[in-house]
């Protein structure tokens, strides 16, 4: 500080930094209040029309609808709190306690945002209720007739076993076949070139063709062409073969990404110890790669499971085929809703599992090494 220029500069600089004023809260709170009030009203009227559509429902249902109505008004609470916080902010500001005023402002805006977020969620739910009650309930009568759901449930669930079997069978084969293709695609050197090309051609082809076309071609083509062995396979096996062909293309790419993500130092270390290319892949690279690819692999598997709804085109009676049959008999889509729900039910645990794995990877990656 002996330097006069620096001393002068710092003396000048200090008062010239203006104190950060607390942010304004009232506008945000007003918007939050208006939006949550509006959304609440929309929700109440949607609930009311649902109530009248149900005619004179059991008192339990009325109570339930009432509870939903109260819940729809809950976003008003943080909005009103935000107004209160705005008052607190004003008091601190008047007292000259800037830090406390800033803290209050941040809290008030937070409350406003919370109110907005919940109000919009209420609005979305209200829209769904509106949709279900629209046209005097025609929509819910088309999709959600309990008696049809009840009658269709057994046969559809039984047929769903076919979907599960095809999915599991194809997944097992895809794990093996996809890895083979990935390894072919990664073969090194001159010697590996033709096999690399074949692998690339395979992936390009089968990722491009819609799986419904592969199913169709495999289902009818192989038996028409009297391909030995294959033509005698039961149709469910043909479905497994077709989905394996399609999804091995995707999964090969997932494997490849996993293998290529392993640091080249691992290759160098393993090869320098005298391990052959194949041994290195088997004991060092693939075991490490597989850990990283479980999440994307499960995503592809969920896609595969959904595509089992297409196997009807090759004459296999799966849940969707069964549901369509029932639906056209009763002239109502409720049985198809059963299939949809079944798919959701088997997918959700897998989706949560993927989330958990990803979160664990994130924590791992975030940890300093």
């Amino acid at each position: 500080m002996s330097d006069p220029v620096t001393a002068e500069l710092s003396a000048a600089a200090e008062p010239s930094v203006p104190p950060t004023p607390p942010q304004r809260v009232v506008p945000a709170a007003a918007i939050a209040l208006a939006v949550s009030g509006l959304c609440g009203l929309v929700a109440l009227s949607a609930l009311w029309s649902l109530h009248s559509m149900l005619g004179s429902p059991a008192s339990g249902v009325t109570v339930l609808l009432g509870a939903f109505g109260v819940a729809a008004l809950l976003p008003l609470v943080p909005a009103l709190r935000a107004f209160n916080t705005a008052r607190v902010r004003g008091r601190f500001l008047a007292d000259g306690d800037l830090a406390a005023a800033r803290a209050a402002a941040a809290r008030g805006r937070d409350q406003s945002h919370t109110a907005l977020g919940y109000a919009l969620a209420v609005l979305i739910c209200a829209a769904l209720v509106w949709f279900a009650t629209a046209n005097d309930g025609a929509i819910s009568r088309t999709f959600l007739r309990w008696e049809f759901i009840e009658t269709a449930w057994r046969s559809v669930a039984d047929a769903f076993w076919v979907n599960v079997k095809v999915a599991v069978g194809a997944e097992v084969l895809v794990l093996v076949f996809g890895l083979l293709i990935a390894i072919m695609r990664l073969l090194p050197g001159q010697a590996g070139r033709p096999l690399r090309w074949i692998a690339i051609g395979y992936v390009d082809t089968f990722r491009a063709i819609p799986s419904i076309i592969v199913l169709y071609l495999v289902g009818f083509g192989l038996s028409l062409a009297e391909v030995p062995v294959v033509k005698d396979l039961p149709p469910i096996w043909l479905a497994i073969v077709a989905l394996t062909l399609t999804y091995s293309g995707y999964v090969a790419e997932v494997y490849r990404a996993g293998i290529e993500s392993i640091h080249p130092g691992q290759w160098a270390a393993a090869r320098s110890l005298g391990l052959s290319y194949g041994m290195t892949l088997r004991t060092v690279i693939v075991p490490q790669g597989v850990r990283r690819i479980v999440p994307p692999l499960l995503n592809d598997f969920i896609g595969l499971q959904k595509d089992t709804a297409l196997i009807g085109v090759m004459g296999v009676t799966d849940a969707f085929t069964q549901a369509r049959l029932t639906a056209s008999n009763v002239f109502n889509l409720s049985p198809v809703i059963v299939v949809a729900v079944l798919f959701v039910v088997i997918t959700i645990p897998q989706a949560r599992f993927v989330d958990r794995l990803l979160a664990r990877e994130q924590r791992r990656a975030g940890r300093p090494s």
Binding site: H263, A269, R271, L273, G274, S276, Q288, S369
Partner: protein, 247 residues
């Protein structure tokens, strides 16, 4: 007797010549240190000797056998020539013990019990026996590097290549690792090492080579190179290292 013979080795990455005719003889029980600026080709030379990189010209012989070029059983070569990397490169999904026994059991044909016994003896020597069942990520850098040295030794190589094995370590961990290398040198293991630790090179090296821009510009005993360098470039390099406080 010359054990490792490097004759006029060239190496290019695309258009970039990295090694421009390197010749070097390493006798049995000799410790040769490669010094030189970053990018002078030290790592590349070591990787070429281990056939991790193909060379573009010249010849490398180990114990009289040509090991470079086509038609060489690289996996056999690598059992005779071990390498330790700057970044350890331990296998993270295996325990310390498995890291060490992997090569002897898988390619050396050593029975598992015997490989384990040998591995534990080696780990004990470097003070890592109690970590045998740990995974690499739970070890410090110095501990990992000691395991990496043991892993390279487990196949009983005739030559050990060490590529700046202390460069990634915290200063207080460097000593432990260097002590092990020093001990190996006293036991008569043939070693070729790239290093920035000049003091260490002066202690252990029977021959020091100064690598500059892909050629060995100057070579001699440690005393000759460090006390009385003949080449201007060598003097400049040593002066820079000296001001950086590494001599």
């Amino acid at each position: 007797m010359t054990f490792l013979q490097i004759r006029d080795v060239h190496k290019a990455y695309g258009d970039a010549d990295v090694l421009k005719g390197v010749s070097l003889d390493v006798a049995k029980h000799e410790v040769v240190c490669l010094i030189g600026a970053s990018g002078s080709g030290k790592s590349t030379l070591l990787r070429c000797i281990n056939a991790l990189e193909p060379i573009s010209g010249g010849e490398i012989r180990v114990d009289g056998d040509v090991v470079s070029g086509q038609g060489v059983d690289v996996n056999r070569l690598r059992r005779n020539v071990g390498i330790v990397f700057q970044s350890y490169n331990l296998f993270p999904h295996m325990t310390v013990l498995r890291n060490v026994t992997l090569a002897p059991t898988m390619v050396g044909g050593v029975p598992k019990a015997q490989a384990t016994e040998h591995a534990l003896a080696l780990l004990e020597r470097v003070g890592m026996k109690d970590k045998a069942d740990c995974y690499p990520e739970s070890l410090s850098g110095g501990q990992q590097q000691r395991v990496a040295i043991v892993r390279a030794l487990a196949t009983n190589p005739q030559v050990l290549l060490l590529d700046e094995i202390t460069a990634a370590l915290d200063p207080e961990l460097v000593g432990d690792v260097l002590a092990i290398v020093r001990e190996l040198a006293q036991d008569g293991l043939t070693m070729l090492l790239a290093t920035h630790e000049m003091g260490f090179a002066r202690d252990v090296a029977s021959q020091v080579c100064f690598l500059d821009d892909g050629t060995i510009l100057e070579r001699g005993t440690a005393a000759e190179i460090f006390e009385d360098p003949q080449e201007e470039r060598t003097r400049q390099f040593l002066a820079r290292v000296l001001t950086a406080g590494r001599l």
